[in-house]
């Protein structure tokens, strides 16, 4: 039986090239940018994710994990290659998308939700659940600028976790909030993950989290796939590699 594919990434290249800003003061509009600096962050990676699977990205800083994630979210378009989400909706779980600090948390739920493409009605249905999950008490009716950074991220997490999309992209936010919330969000992650229809991509430096949550792990190294496979195997090799580098 052939499984449904949720994400296909084919020969993905992303570079930050010559897009450096220039100022009129410096170059009086003469010609095009002369020195083109190309930094290739992702150098041709291909993979597919089956529907309902959880993929973890590991790799050292600057290996292209976040860039790939942002490309999956549609923030950048690939310079080469293609990404096919097979018509699934996608959201990047991140801290405080579009929060307006002077407004209350409740109003910001609507603002962020609408930005994610949900209608006012859909958000109203989920509002109670979000507020309950964020668990920041009466602060939900206070302006976001009065929040502590923990509360801020709790609310942000609650919004993206409860307003469900088919594909969730998670960038290093599992370590949000205090110990109690961490456990709760971790459990919520597990619950979201156990939903057979949801595909999840996680970027994290916490190997234990990755090991526990993911079905598959992708090790990125300087923009290339170094290894992809079962979590235990990949992580073991990754740890060895990191240890060797340290020594």
């Amino acid at each position: 039986m052939k499984k449904d594919i949720a994400i296909t990434v084919d020969n993905l290249h992303i570079s930050y090239r010559g897009l450096k800003k220039f100022s009129i003061k410096r170059s009086l509009f003469k010609g095009k940018k002369s020195s083109v600096e190309v930094f290739e962050a992702v150098k041709g990676i291909s993979f597919t994710i089956e529907k309902g699977k959880i993929l973890g990205f590991i790799g050292k800083n600057g290996s292209g994990k976040s860039t790939t994630l942002r490309a999956l979210a549609g923030i950048f378009s690939p310079d080469e290659g293609r990404i096919d989400l097979h018509g699934n909706s996608v959201s990047l779980l991140s801290i405080g998308v579009g929060f307006q600090p002077k407004l209350t948390g409740q109003e910001n739920i609507y603002l962020a939700g609408m930005l994610l493409g949900f209608s006012e009605k859909q958000i109203r249905e989920k509002e109670k659940e979000i507020i309950a999950f964020a668990d920041i008490g009466d602060f939900i009716y206070k302006p976001v600028k009065t929040y502590s950074s923990g509360m801020y991220s709790k609310l942000a997490f609650a919004i993206t976790a409860i307003l469900e999309t088919d594909i969730m992209l998670i960038d290093e936010v599992l370590s949000v909030g205090d110990a109690a919330f961490k456990e709760k969000s971790y459990n919520k992650m597990r619950e979201l993950i156990s939903d057979a229809n949801r595909t999840v991509v996680i970027v994290s430096h916490s190997l234990s989290t990755i090991k526990e949550l993911c079905d598959e792990v992708l090790w990125l190294h300087e923009g290339n796939i170094k290894k992809i496979g079962k979590p235990e195997e990949v992580i073991e090799e990754y740890e060895e590699y990191m240890a060797a580098k340290k020594g």
Binding site: L19, F22, F76, L92, V97, G98
Partner: protein, 260 residues
């Protein structure tokens, strides 16, 4: 173009909601804040009445209404153009975390400023009543002129937004240009009577802000029809720059997040 319309449909609600949120946030600090939306143009009007009417002794018929009309149009244009240059980096937290068609940011901003402009027009109406300006049927031209103002501002803003991302100091240049346009738009003087022969015609024909301010005054105060030729001409320029803007934004918007 089809993509543009679909995106507008999809994000229209967001733009409205977020514009409302912005306005609300402005008054959230203190409920007197909205008073500034009224007081701000009021005080500028008084300053210009002083400078033009008392220092230079050049007053016009219904002088306060005359100035207020100019200021209302100018504030709308100025706020949008100024904001559009930096709008993507101002919305950095959104732009780097989620895909949003970038012209929605301009649309959202234009809703905020349009609302403020409506308040300002409300004050114009009050002033018109106080100064007993006679009403003429030409007042109906108000709406098409307003539409042209919106389209022109929107079109220019789109194009400036794009270049504002790649050219760091465009903001400074635009501030200078806007200063110049301000003095060339006849906000506190009458372009057609205060300037010598060829210059006033040139200015009224080539500076959209001067033309629009003049047209608003014609229909509101003097019971005159605006030049339909110029009005439709500027409308087309507006639509055309909108189309150029939309085209370049569609083409390049994916790289915006890499630059800012």
């Amino acid at each position: 173009m089809k993509k543009f319309i679909n995106n507008i449909k999809r994000y229209f609600k967001y733009a409205v909601y977020s514009a409302r949120a912005d306005l609300k946030a402005e008054v959230a600090g203190s409920y007197l804040n909205w008073l500034w939306w009224v007081l701000d143009p009021m005080f500028f009007m008084l300053i210009y009445i002083f400078i033009a009417g008392i220092v230079f002794k050049k007053t016009e018929l219904y002088f306060p209404v005359f100035i207020f009309t100019g200021l209302t149009v100018w504030d709308y244009f100025n706020r949008n153009i100024n904001a559009s240059v930096k709008i993507v980096s101002a919305n950095r937290p959104i732009v780097t975390k989620i895909y949003i068609p970038k012209y929605i940011l301009i649309l959202q901003k234009s809703f905020v400023t349009f609302f403020k402009m409506l308040i300002s027009w409300g004050l114009v109406i009050i002033l018109m009543i106080l100064w007993k300006v006679p009403l003429t049927p030409y007042i109906l031209y108000f709406f098409p002129i307003l539409l042209v103002l919106y389209v022109i501002t929107f079109g220019f803003s789109l194009i400036l937004m794009h270049f504002g991302i790649f050219i760091e100091d465009l903001g400074n240049v635009i501030t200078l240009v806007l200063k110049l346009v301000f003095y060339l738009s006849g906000i506190f003087y009458n372009v057609s009577t205060s300037l010598p022969e060829p210059f006033n015609k040139i200015l009224l024909n080539l500076n959209p802000v001067a033309f629009l301010i003049n047209a608003f005054r014609d229909v509101l105060l003097y019971g005159k029809a605006p030049s339909l030729l110029l009005l439709s001409g500027w409308f087309l320029v507006g639509i055309f720059s909108m189309m150029i803007g939309i085209h370049i934004i569609h083409k390049y918007e994916n790289s915006y997040a890499k630059v800012i």
